[in-house]
Symmetry: C2
Subunit: 223 residues, 2 copies
């Protein structure tokens, strides 16, 4: 069931005061039907031509770079409502995969361009999206400098902010995904979550279900 946040209401209009000119939904009025992707299915690969933008309807997507030493750096997670597929160059610099079964809405960029005043609209859309990506990326850098515990807490707060219920939610991604996003090992992520649970800061009914029990501590750790 797709989560509907302020940027993804059916009518495609935001109710938030949009920082620059963020009305992303507007340019993404349904054209064609959403496509289904299976868990771990590739949406596009590094190096392929970047012709489409995608909007997550349900499920979730990870984008990543494969490192030469076999590791994987996850660049971002895209949750329902998020748009991805944006690239600076003509080709994708990351690979995108569904993290769970997902519905994605794809729009060909040239199609957007060809509509009346498409160029201006497209440029604005791209600027908004790029700006948002830049923000996300800068925040990611700041996260990577911190201790393992701070990274994990930062990650939980980041996800919580984007989920419908900010206090209790299911993680769509595996421990390995989280580790690859935070630049940690799976063991460290696991141990850190266990420690947070022991400290009664969070609780986990199952390994994928998180309850943020004591926010002040989380924000203190996230300082």
């Amino acid at each position: 069931m797709p989560v509907q946040n302020a940027l993804t209401r059916k009518d495609g209009r935001s109710q938030l005061a949009s920082p620059p000119s963020v009305q992303l939904g507007r340019s993404f009025e349904p054209i064609g039907a959403p496509t289904a992707f299976a868990r771990n299915e590739e949406v596009f690969g590094e190096g392929e031509p970047a012709e489409y933008l995608y909007k997550v309807i349900s499920g979730g997507v990870r984008t990543y770079n494969s490192l030469d030493d076999g590791r994987r750096q996850i660049a971002a997670f895209y949750l329902p409502g998020d748009i991805f597929g944006l690239e600076a160059r003509k080709f994708h610099s990351v690979t995108a995969e569904a993290i769970t079964r997902s519905m994605l809405h794809a729009v060909k960029k040239t199609k957007l361009m060809s509509r009346p005043s498409g160029d201006l609209m497209m440029t604005h859309l791209l600027l908004d999206l790029t700006t948002q990506e830049l923000h996300r990326t800068q925040a990611h850098i700041l996260l990577l400098l911190r201790s393992a515990e701070e990274r994990v807490v930062g990650f939980l707060l980041e996800i919580a902010k984007r989920e419908a219920c900010k206090r209790e939610f299911d993680l769509r991604m595996s421990r390995q995904d989280i580790a690859d996003y935070l630049g940690l090992t799976i063991e460290t992520v696991s141990r850190t979550l266990t420690r947070l649970e022991n400290a009664a800061v969070i609780s986990m009914q199952t390994s994928r279900h998180i309850v943020l029990r004591y926010r002040p501590a989380l924000h203190r750790l996230n300082s």
Copy 2:
């Protein structure tokens, strides 16, 4: 003496096939005179309104976030020809300071907007700059995941690519600046450089003057 690279020739036109629509110089034709900034002088501070774009004429600039624990994360170094001051929001999210005595050319954004077809041009300019920033930031993330040695080598190659002479150059920034950019301590940066010199991969006449002596080893380390 400002370095002139392909993007900053006097006529403001690039000779490179520009990836998206990068013609940054064009919009930055001299309006008013450049301003001098002393070493460590602040150009703008975190939280201030972002009204101007700046172009580095000579010297260099660092942008950074102050971390709550007193550390400092340098987001980027801007060298002659680079444009900075771009912000997603209405306010600066970083502080900018001159790393050496620098000449900067400032252009008020509203001024660019008010010129004929200013809005379209401005949007394109912002998109180009934002895209470039996004690239830089993504590359920065990948750098931060590597070992100390790989980070330092990556940094040297990154700087070399942007300097006039790619084999031999002066570092405009201190060891502390480098450390804060790479998420390392000053001691680790220093030790790593010493080790590279002992391995005859680089040489340093002075601590600020770098000669890349053996590229293959550098690229191997950068893999």
